[in-house]
Amino acid sequence: MTTAADVSAADVPTPPRIARGTGLDRAFEILCFSAATFLLTALGGIVISLAIGGWPAFEAFGFGFFTSSNWDPVQEIYGAAGAVTGTLVTATLALLFALPLAFGIAIFLVELCPPILRRTIGTAVELLAGIPSIVYGMWGLFVFAPWFAKHVQMPIMMSVEPGSFWEKITAGVPNGAGILSASIILAIMILPFIAATTRELLLTIPPQVRESAYGLGSTTFEVITKVSLPYIRTGAIGAVMLGLGRALGETMAVTFIIGNSHGFPTSIFASGSTIASTIANEFAEATDRLHSASLIALGLVLFVITFAVLALARLLIGRQVHA
């Protein structure tokens, strides 16, 4: 016989707690507790130090700090709009490129991959995630950019009609560096993260669910789009947000290849800057107070944006998946 108490106990998987002792037990618990609290303090410290350090910039420019794209260290005028736009544009473009590819890879690994290749390709994707940002930056600048300029930028810029809308958004110096190149490198960087998380999510789908769809005569395409993806929808959105969070805060690779010019990006081939690349380029050399305060204020803006995105991602993914 199953009683009500049995059922509720079975519903809660939490293992029974072991009785707490005294003395050393208590000391050990406090030690562990302090370490956990230290992490909380570190995150709090980041917010507080950025807020205090950036305050002079907010005070000097007020709301204009966010609306002006004029970043002029000589005249000590700082506006964040150019860098913020650059950050949002590159991250969004990167996400657009990476998303279909990442889902394709995840689906390939779960549904299509010959078992003999599965481990190799899985490891390759993991290694792509492990390559340091600065290596992506060097590769982007010295290998990808020249290729991109010759085989993509030049043909496109030659073929667009003069005076058209397309000419406007593809204007720029065809040297391979710029907003679009940065977005493509970012896309390659976040690809493995989204793919790995989506793959783990796909593996959480009970086999019966997919098998019944196949049993009804569905094609793989139909199983994926009508059964699997709807099943993991929430988590998949979380995985995408996690990728977005990484793209927003990525520093070195972007610094190498975005061209580092201030102001609004006007075309996809134009050079630009992101919040992270501006800080990386200028902070060590920022000598006057307002310049470094403005850079720290930029950092606070980046923190707020990424915190919102990452927090949402974590809430959507939940804990069942390693990400």
Partner: protein, 283 residues
């Protein structure tokens, strides 16, 4: 309208297009990895000679290596890892063994996950603000603190995950033998989970050994060989950054050699960590 054959054909076409797309997507990722590794090898191998490990970073035009940067990176990573392993393992243990489903535990777990993927350059700004500016000087020590702050959340997360995988019966058996909680954790749970914990530490090391952004304005750089972590300290990522963007060919050559060294280290450590993670007591 071909009612009978139309849908079937369109289904077959969409299926075909879809499958081809998945293959292409995977091919793109594998090709990207291959292209990057190939560039590293072809560009890096030329700069790789004994001088790299025996001489310090040169002035433009003269002969030199990366000895000071390699040593600086190793020292900073070592200090950072010691600190991060202590904090991370204790915090992970707290989350797994003590906090369980408490509200505070959930908050810490959530914030740790956020810290895990927070932009590393902000960690650099933070350390600049609390260590570099008040002490009026860049230092290798500040760089190590920044790296530790990046590594600690990784270790916390993996430690919690592997400790949670240990069966309750193991804990009960230890307690039944009369061991207090702390002995149970130290001698039984940690021991059972050690491969997983080592994996976490290796992944954290792989993560920080290539980190550049948090070192730009904490450790800065140093042209000379120095073992003093209270001074600006040379490190591979920042040297690569500076040399790669310079106009001198021999500096760029060193940057490629350095990039290859870092990538080789990170990828080797990642692969070792994955192999360790496949051991039975992790799964």
């Amino acid at each position: 309208m071909t009612v009978a054959t139309g849908p079937r054909l369109s289904r077959r076409i969409s299926e075909g297009v879809f499958l081809v797309f998945c293959w292409i997507a995977t091919l793109v990722a594998v090709l990207a990895l291959a292209a990057i590794l190939w560039s590293l090898l072809s560009q890096g191998i030329g700069g790789l000679d004994l001088n790299i490990f025996t001489k310090s970073t040169p002035a433009p035009g003269s002969e030199g290596g990366l000895l000071n940067a390699i040593l600086g990176s190793l020292m900073m990573c070592a200090v950072a890892m010691v600190a991060a392993v202590i904090v991370g393992i204790l915090a992970g243990t707290w989350l797994s063994e003590f906090a369980r489903d408490s509200y505070y535990g959930k908050v810490i777990r959530f914030l740790n996950d956020v810290l895990l993927s927070a932009p590393s350059i902000l960690v650099g700004l933070f350390v600049y603000y609390i260590l570099v500016a008040p002490l009026k000087g860049f230092s290798g020590f500040a760089g190590a603190v920044a790296l530790a702050l990046i590594a600690a959340p990784v270790i916390t997360r993996t430690t919690e995950d592997v400790l949670r995988l240990q069966p309750v019966a193991l804990r009960e058996a230890s307690v039944a033998l009369g061991a207090p909680m702390w002995r149970t954790i130290l001698a039984v749970i940690w021991k059972a989970a050690r491969a997983g914990m080592l994996t976490g530490a290796l992944l954290a090391f792989a993560r920080i050994s290539g980190e550049t952004a948090p070192l730009l304005f904490t450790a800065l750089n140093n042209q000379f060989l120095s073992l003093d972590l209270t001074k600006p300290t040379a490190n591979l990522p920042v040297v690569i950054f500076n040399f790669a963007l310079s106009a001198y060919d021999d500096w760029r050559r060193l940057a490629w050699a350095g990039a290859m060294l870092i990538a080789a280290t990170v990828l080797t450590v990642t692969v070792v960590a994955r192999i360790l993670a496949r051991e039975p007591n992790r799964s």
